[in-house]
């Protein structure tokens, strides 16, 4: 991908904190215009630091990056004019109303006076906050705050949107609503979205491509399907009803695929033929009179990708991220 066709291009980006670790340790990535790029990693991986750097709020220690065709160090003002950002904290003023937030943002973005109120109303309608528009934000629910946050990021019609863990702490309904809006922005309006998340299903559901980051480095990158296929096929995990029959169970199951794990009372085997082999397995176990306590099919997930690349599961990994 050359820089002309990239909305975001990052080359060996490093961000090191004084007396601290390298939060971002030489990452390379490129995001095409109109793409939703999911940046997935545990707490402390370097996701938010990357976002703060790309949005010009943190200068990089070394490396280069361009956003919207502008260098993040030399052309910071142009970068900021091209992007909208909803950062990790919703960062709203509890005393102001939703409408006042939007009007303030519009004023600070240099929008002509005549257009501010109109744009505020348009965005309130878009994110479904018209009824709450003139209520103080302190009384908004978490979902409402996130929607307002998104609206504020869109006030000046940016071409590129940065969303830093936008659905953390939201209920399922609010999360789905936000996903829908993000997908619409990208697919209908051609907006480029750089989305950080620690939720696998969010990256799976939304992202056209995913970059997995751990300890400041990108450990894997590709479409969700590509990444999962790279790791391998689904696995089946079986726990025998009689623990002494473990070896017999291994014998039976390894007829269908390679042994992945044998321990903790469970036998796990990788299935090259996928879930279609499940019926055969059940028949074979039945014919061998092997009773099972449980049988579970595991589709490969991005968590498995993370596990394969780092030796750790994504969920539960990572300390608290110290961003600044």
């Amino acid at each position: 991908m050359n820089s002309r066709s990239c909305a975001i291009e990052v080359e060996q980006l490093v961000r090191e904190f004084r007396k601290g670790p390298r939060a971002v340790d030489g990452i390379d990535l490129a995001v095409s215009p109109g793409e939703i790029y999911g940046f997935l990693g545990p707490n402390g991986a370097g996701k938010s630091t990357t976002v703060l750097t790309l949005t010009t709020l943190l200068p990089p220690t070394s490396g280069r990056a361009s956003v919207g065709g502008y260098d993040i160090v030399r052309d910071g003002a142009h970068v900021r004019a091209s992007i909208g950002a909803a950062l990790q904290e919703a960062a709203l003023d509890a005393i102001l109303t939703g409408r006042e937030h939007l009007t303030l943002q519009a004023t600070l973005q240099g929008m002509p006076k005549a257009e501010r109120a109109r744009r505020a109303q348009e965005l309130l309608e878009r994110v479904g906050l018209t009824e709450a528009a003139d209520r103080r934000v302190g009384g908004y629910s978490g979902g409402m705050k996130r929607r307002l946050d998104l609206a504020l990021a869109l006030v000046h019609r940016p071409r590129i949107l940065f969303l830093d863990e936008p659905t953390t702490g939201l209920d399922l309904q609010s999360r789905s609503a936000l996903w829908e809006e993000v997908a619409r922005l990208a697919h209908d309006e051609g907006m480029t979205v750089f989305l950080t998340t620690q939720y696998l299903e969010e990256a799976d559901a939304l992202a056209d491509r995913v970059g997995i980051i751990d300890h400041g480095k990108i450990v894997a990158e590709g479409t969700p399907t590509q990444l999962k296929e790279e790791i391998g096929s689904p696995t089946v995990e079986v726990v025998p009803a009689d623990p002494t029959l473990g070896e017999t169970l291994v014998e039976q199951l390894t007829r269908f695929g390679t042994l992945a794990r044998n321990g903790g009372g469970a036998v796990t085997v990788q299935l090259p033929g996928g879930e279609s082999q499940l019926a055969e397995i059940v028949r074979a176990l039945d014919q061998a009179h092997l009773k099972v306590a449980s049988l579970q099919l595991h589709q490969t997930s991005l968590d498995d990708v993370f596990l394969a690349k780092t030796g750790r599961k994504l969920e539960g990994a990572g300390e608290d991220e110290d961003e600044r």
């Binding site: 993040i72 950062l87 303030l104 600070l108």
Partner: protein
């Protein structure tokens, strides 16, 4: 609003809102926030007036000290609420800014074309509006309680101007603390120290009547003494050129120092490439 030269390849030109627009927007927000949090407005009004009422009466006997000016103690004490009010403005302005930093709202502002100087001016502008209201209330209550303004109506206007200038300088201090430490708790932690400077001054007695040598020395070197004496001269003396010159002089110096330092801290805090 100004528009920079458009980049090539049809890239949108950079829009720079006017400084007036930016300052106005920030100041409007600052004032709105204050007037919507009644507690923030009521306490700085009530507390200094409460102290004025209590001390004005409790120290009434002080006027029997040989050499005390020939006015009631209440007249003498009215200058103090203006300085205490300025302190509250400082803490309030600082806490507001610190809260923006802590909550991440500062980052939101940093992502707009907002200039650091506009952000500072807007925050302080809001503080000045509050200081105006406070000063008017203190003056009105003072006059209603029987205090005479020796310098007349013109002097009352000069008094308001001086007290607002003092509040502006203190608000700069509040902003400096907020930008330097980025924490509302740190700003509030300085409040007692600032309060101490009012007591260690000529707030309760004229400097020449302070018996304890060390206290008189401290009060003499304490700039707050001259701020108080400047305000007080308009109430009990009339037009005292020296006191006014010192009062306005120190107030301006306070403004210059705090605003310069706050401006420098803003540059460091508003880190953007």
């Amino acid at each position: 609003m100004s528009v920079s030269a458009a980049a090539s390849n049809g890239v949108p030109a950079l829009v720079q809102p006017s400084l007036v627009d930016q300052v106005g927007a920030v100041a409007r927000r600052s004032v709105t926030r204050t007037f919507r949090q009644r507690g923030l407005l009521v306490f700085p009004l009530v507390f200094p007036l409460l102290l004025f009422a209590i001390n004005g009466s409790a120290l009434g006997a002080a006027r029997k000290i040989n050499g005390f000016p020939d006015v009631s103690y209440r007249d003498f004490a009215l200058a103090i609420p203006f300085i205490q009010g300025a302190l509250f403005v400082a803490v309030s302005a600082g806490t507001d800014l610190a809260r923006d930093i802590e909550s991440g709202f500062f980052n939101r502002l940093a992502l707009t074309p907002l200039r650091g100087s506009a952000l500072l001016a807007g925050q302080l502008g809001g503080a000045v509006v509050v200081a105006c209201v406070q000063s008017l209330v203190y003056l009105a209550v003072g006059i209603a309680s029987g205090v005479g303004i020796a310098s007349g109506f013109g002097g009352a206007l000069v008094l308001l101007a001086l007290s607002i200038l003092i509040a502006f300088g203190f608000a700069g201090l509040g902003a400096l603390l907020a930008l330097r430490f980025g924490s509302g708790e740190a700003v509030q932690g300085f409040f007692p120290l600032l309060f101490v400077t009012i007591f260690l001054s000529s707030s309760n007695l004229p400097r020449n009547l302070i018996k304890a040598d060390w206290f008189r020395e401290v009060a003499t070197y304490n700039p707050v003494s001259y701020l108080i004496e400047g305000v007080r001269s308009l109430i009990i003396t009339g037009w005292d050129g020296e006191a006014l010159a010192l009062g306005f002089g120190f107030a301006l110096l306070l403004c210059v120092i705090t605003l310069s330092l706050a401006g420098a801290s803003m540059k460091n805090r508003l880190v953007r490439t």
